[in-house]
């Protein structure tokens, strides 16, 4: 079986060339198509269906926490982008500029939004007068553009799809609570729905979002030991409010500056799914976002009774899960490979002998485990199987992360661990100086991913770099 898959799926092995393995999967699983628009991609139906499932689950979570969707223009006038000093410095070098409308040169250039803080601020200034108007908790599902030099499907492209939440609150406390809440929503989504274990942390000052007081992130460890930032949540304080002159009258009719947040997740998550769960036979999808959760493959379907029974089973399961019956003329072996490539979590094989015995064969994608299931129990078993698959995938990924998380006290130790065990998370104490942050990166190759939110240095812990007393425990790693 393994050999045949190899032959049919014909993708580079991940141990041989991880980058090529990744590119093979996005193409062979029909997730994306290339275009003549440099650095941009077509998201094909199978890839987009994954994104639709991500959207649906996240959107429900946003609404359940009191957020409303809106839609802002895709353009930002240059003068508006420039209102917040740090923000424009961070983004201006990488935006696309519209300079002509038809044949007419524009009086002022417009950039295609790289992110929409400035537009939300302009809107808040228009609609917020009193404490009664607060909070506003908004989100939008759009695409943004950042003029990247080197691009890779899902991981880094000039245009990408995302959601950007933007909220504004009367007090700093409320805004900080919002920032934390959304980080938790993101972490729960990654762990529960994508079966991807994540580390929650705060970014160091050098790595903050342009214009933010604090940036929080969730970081996941990919199969090759590199880290991937899967979502960020920013606390802005009242910096943007001051730059955009957003004020409200409080209960005592005093003018106050409100406090803001923003938070975002992108189509990058699809890259994270591929690199966390995928294997040499292709994609492995977590059931919650899999376009097809179970595929039914009839065996010897020319035999009387087989197509009928397969259709009956499909009909019976369709209200329970996203099920597909493949009754095309292709061989069962070809179909096995095809749906393994596409990462369908559960395969149900149904042949004449199975039918005779009132049973079917259930195979789970992530571990290739086979189970015989009685047909009259299948409707009960399938949801449990899908949960088992999610749990199994999560445990496997967690185990990989644990095997590749190294606690180190010295630079030599970092270099030794990375050399011995391969790339991974390095957990090491830090003095909080940017100089040491840079030195660690120069001398070991791992940069700071985030500051641990659960762990502080023990008494006597010293900075892995300079030997001065440590103030934080940092997750270091190579990053996508």
């Amino acid at each position: 079986m393994a050999d045949m898959n190899k032959m049919v799926n014909d993708i580079t092995s991940m141990d041989e060339d991880f980058a090529k393995w990744y590119t093979d999967i996005v193409k062979k699983a029909e997730l994306i198509g290339y275009t003549s628009v440099k650095g941009c991609m077509v998201i094909r139906p199978y890839g987009y269906a994954i994104w639709e499932n991500i959207q649906r689950i996240l959107d429900n979570a946003f609404k359940a926490t009191g957020h409303e969707n809106v839609n802002m223009p895709m353009f930002i006038p240059e003068s508006l982008l420039q209102k917040e000093k740090d923000h424009v410095e961070g983004f201006a070098p990488e935006v696309a500029w519209v300079t002509y409308g038809g044949s007419e040169k524009l009086e002022e250039r417009l950039c295609v939004r790289p992110t929409s803080e400035t537009l939300f601020c302009e809107h808040y200034a228009n609609i917020i007068q009193s404490y009664r108007d607060l909070p506003k908790k908004y989100n939008q599902w759009v695409s943004v553009v950042r003029w990247e030099k080197t691009t890779r499907p899902f991981l880094r492209s000039r245009e990408f799809l995302w959601q950007e939440g933007h909220t504004i609150h009367a007090t700093a406390e409320e805004a900080i609570a919002e920032t934390e809440q959304m980080l938790n929503v993101y972490a729960d989504f990654c762990e529960n729905s994508l079966a991807i274990p994540v580390v929650k942390g705060r970014k160091t000052d050098s790595d903050k979002f342009a214009g933010a007081e604090a940036t929080y992130a969730i970081e996941a460890l990919m199969h090759d030991g590199k880290a991937l930032q899967a979502g960020t949540s920013h606390y802005f304080g009242d910096g943007f409010a001051k730059a955009f002159n957003i004020q409200y009258s409080d209960r005592r009719n005093q003018k106050k500056y409100p406090h803001q947040t923003s938070w975002g997740m992108t189509t990058r998550l699809i890259g994270a799914i591929i690199m966390t769960h995928g294997d040499d036979n292709g994609l492995v999808l977590p059931p919650d976002v899999a376009p097809i959760q179970a595929v039914i493959i009839p065996i010897a379907q020319h035999k009387a009774g087989v197509p009928e029974k397969a259709a009956e089973v499909a009909e019976q399961l369709k209200s329970i899960a996203r099920v597909k019956l493949d009754d095309t003329d292709n061989s069962p072996g070809w179909k096995f490979s095809e749906y393994e490539m596409k990462g369908v979590p559960v395969r149900i094989e149904l042949g004449p002998r199975d039918i005779e015995q009132g049973q079917c064969v259930v195979v789970t994608r992530h571990n290739r485990e086979k189970t015989i299931v009685q047909l009259d129990e299948l409707a009960d078993v399938l949801p449990k199987k899908l949960q088992e698959v999610r749990d199994g995938m999560f445990q496997k990924a967690l185990q990989n992360r644990e095997q590749h998380t190294y606690r180190c006290k010295t630079m030599d130790e970092i270099n030794a661990k990375l050399a011995e065990l391969g790339d991974g998370f390095v957990l090491a104490p830090w003095c909080e100086s940017e100089e040491c942050e840079d030195t660690v990166k120069e001398q070991t190759g791992v940069g700071s991913r985030c500051i641990s939110m659960t762990e502080d240095p023990a008494d006597g812990d010293v900075c892995v770099c300079c030997g001065k007393p440590a103030k934080k425990i940092v997750y270091w790693g190579k990053a996508y």
Copy 2:
């Protein structure tokens, strides 16, 4: 009540100034916000929630007819846009051009998509080889940009949200059937979900989509007697396939050009809803797309038992409809006006005396009809009420259209009817010459909206303009 509403809502009467009435509604009902991005708008939560409902219903209809969602880049390289001659002529004058990425001048200008035929064609050319690859039935939900000179919220803006369906088929017959099917999906959606009666028709050659062989449209009549194109469905033949060299091998291994369609609906529909159903008290929303279908307003809510009962009713109804309980401190009169402005289809009033008698007062927005409903029957009555509302709104709009549809045989008759009865649809025979089409517009002010698909000229019917034998019956009108 009417006077108080007038006072609180304070909008221009539609008879006084229809355009100002429209603008007042989009602002006061909090559908949009203005921005410093000329010709673009913020769609606020209440406006966007209407669009989300439109999306959900249409997206289900698309999927039920076998379509899949994808996502194309938002940019089109100039050379790609130029591949189909008619298409580029139609769109190039009104596109926004990106000329810089960061500080670097681009080698080739990119336009922000005004529509995506060219991108879909490039993708088809990459993925279609054989008849087995056909049909492809794709759709995407995105925004597009057209550099309009004068803009109005929802009706005409430089950026607008839409869906664009793009399909490709082995034969002309299949593509034509697709074009017709989607026109019907659009018409059914408008009539059933938006309660807007529409005329289905074909556009004259001068009014076709750039690059299409035939354009079909649905046209609705607004309250002021002007027509609004609510959706279009285009048949392209194999013109784009030839321009982009898309070919497939048929069953006999012969190379063939496939046939294409595209079809779209936009946020314009929200403008159509406003101008079909709205009145001098504000918005009137069809229940299927209303963000709030029923609002519960407690009367004398300081009295014991009222808030509790109101909450109980809200809880009981929440699985039946999109229900909101407004238990804020504002007065009931203020709330009545507020939700009339927002067009909530059903209002449920609940006071101490009602509760004593186990009943409530149900008021429907479109006709302000009051009904006493027993509380224990409310869960059964509400869905029926919502259906009644949709039916009542549709009949009212249909009646308005019928009163403003004029059958005319001569130019004088057209001018007389319009002068006497106001703007509306003129139904008149036509010889099919572009010259007569232009002359009718010059001399009467009404342009051709579409050619009737259900009615042909009778024997002896002559062109309303030149007097030669008529070939078509045309709907003429002034248009948004």
